[in-house]
Symmetry: C2
Subunit: 363 residues, 2 copies
């Protein structure tokens, strides 16, 4: 029932490439997190030209070059940064190293596009802000759970159209599968390097809470972390949550964990609930559990009825084209610098003040 | 897919009546909240004998007697309390009046069974505890969103069997429909009488967080209330939420509101998410939005797969028979007194310390 396909519930037109080949040139480097693949695909899909790849581990650069055969493998970070053709460097370094890398990139006169979390401490945040100010360059962030998820993009369109009135609350669940823990790199278990669960995977949801409420700031009312199931890795937070008051007047709550059970058919049952004065939205991002509906499910209940819209393949990812044009035109349509930094700041503050629920050691 | 009906996912046997007619006699009085109907049905279903009804408004008692024709309409509260045949008095008074009524009932030598929230202030809580101590009587509470919802009863059975390992987090959403605001009684809009949203409808979820985690206590980490959509009723909290740390080590979050949109086919899309170390449970209590599955949906994801169990008509409500036997045998199998009071205490504390998010006046 109530599977709406009317114009009121239709997505905006699919985004198209925004530049011709060679107009926007980017490089990929520091491939520690697999997100670099999605970041690269997103920029390519919007018309970007991938020129270089670099990684301190040559086999990682080689694997990347197999997936993207048009790329040249650079011998060093410096070789990439010295190339005047490069507009932007995309990178997915170890979280604690992302700020220092970004500062090097911006000081070389290029814009930076980093995997989330963009940084892990308030000191890094201050240094990154200084560098942005000093260089005039961009420190953009791949908050993939909104910008690279069609259900989330469509939710943003609905909210902008006023489909649920004023947004009162955003609740996000970001469960993740840890898989075989021995296949994870060392930094995954060292809090000083991955930053803690609220800083790392939690940052996605701080970004979504700001974006979906239209807020520029928020206060952490409370937060908590725990290690409930991984005693062999005492610095791993396998659970975290936070309750925040947003500058729009709305409330926000995020819950993240590493407990996706083996029986789930995907890596995590990511959900978002957005409560408005005139309706609410639920996102079943990656799976509609116990059904064969697939992910990308947007459920919207409003004054008219209950509506289900499958966003998969219907919405696309306008962020990437917007980012390319922002780089070329020095605009901020994809995401403002202030927003990208504020989400990270909230994630770090929530982590720093978190109540330790289980046997996790102090941060 | 994955609609499990195996023995591992079967409910316990349906509860049966626990007494013969006349063995357990109860009365209903103070019918301010419609929950009195469910409370009465529950006790009747478990074998209870309904003898009396009383309400200060004779037309309300008459309407009740039409639904339950076996009942005698009493001329006064005293007439009911003076009847030595009555074991228990069920009541759904205005929230702020529930404690004083309970104390009168217990001092008359009867057990008390009140609609949630059982009280609205810490002073009332202290007085109620004193009266329980002094009289040896019970002050039982109808936390209907767990004890009178088959999906929630089944979730409790699964947790007790260890189906999801150790419970790490419980998240509850209790949206409600306000309907035509002018049809609500005055007390609904007076904070000193209804107690505030976290105290009133929030109490259901504080009870569930304690029950599903097996906790005896909790600390309110943060809480918030707001009036986002009802400026004509400035003392109405139309939104509330709270983040708590439970004594089991688990985290809890509750979100309640009065914003169920007109397009939803029922009064509220009540959900509960219970995260464990070995799996998770989602309850879609009253509706599975955009589908015709009906409510009562228990979704369980564990090491084996994704399972959906429709609890409707399969589980029943063991609380009522347990309560009757607790009254007759002076046991505490339905719910301990400490648990019933602790849930109310948490609800009141969350309300008292709540951040005011919107234009709601101070409590």
């Amino acid at each position: 029932m109530a599977v709406s396909e009317g114009a009121d519930y239709a997505p905006a037109p699919m985004p198209q490439p925004v530049v011709e080949p060679g107009e926007f040139v980017f490089a990929a480097m520091h491939l520690d997190h697999g997100h670099i693949g999605g970041m690269t695909q997103g920029l390519l899909g919007a018309g970007g030209t991938l020129k270089w790849v670099y990684d301190p581990q040559p086999e990682r650069a080689a694997a990347f070059a197999e997936k993207f055969p048009q790329v040249k493998v650079a011998a060093s970070e410096e070789e990439v940064l010295a190339d005047p053709a490069v507009h932007l460097v995309a990178a997915a370094a170890v979280p604690a190293d992302r700020a220092a890398l970004g500062i090097r990139v911006m000081e070389a006169g290029k814009d930076y596009f980093t995997d989330k979390t963009p940084l892990t401490t308030l000191d890094q945040l201050a240094a990154a802000k200084d560098a942005v100010e000093r260089t005039g360059k961009k420190y953009a962030v791949y908050y993939s759970e909104r910008i690279h998820v069609e259900a989330a993009v469509l939710a943003g369109q609905f909210i902008d159209r006023g489909a649920i009135g004023e947004v009162i609350q955003v609740m996000g669940m970001g469960p993740h599968r840890i898989g075989d823990p021995t296949t994870r790199p060392d930094w995954f278990y060292e809090r000083s390097r991955y930053g803690g669960i609220l800083t790392d995977i939690g940052s996605h949801n701080f970004e979504q809470m700001l974006a979906f409420t239209g807020s520029t700031d928020a206060e952490i009312l409370s937060s908590a972390i725990g290690n409930f199931g991984h005693p062999a890795y005492p610095e791993l937070d396998d659970f975290g949550d936070a309750h925040i008051a947003l500058s729009s007047g709305a409330s926000g709550y995020v819950r993240v964990d590493w407990f996706t059970p083996p029986g789930l058919r995907t890596w995590g049952d990511g959900r978002t609930f957005i409560l408005g004065t005139e309706g609410y939205i639920e996102l079943r991002k990656y799976i509609d559990v116990t059904t064969d509906n697939g992910g990308g499910q947007v459920l919207l209940v409003d004054g008219e009825g209950e509506h289900r819209i499958n966003a998969s393949g219907q919405v696309g990812y306008p962020f990437f084209g917007d980012l390319i044009l922002d780089v070329l035109h020095r605009t901020e349509n994809a995401m403002t610098q202030a927003h990208a930094f504020k989400a990270a700041e909230l994630a770090v503050r929530a982590q720093e003040q978190a109540r330790v629920l289980a046997a996790a050691p102090p941060a």
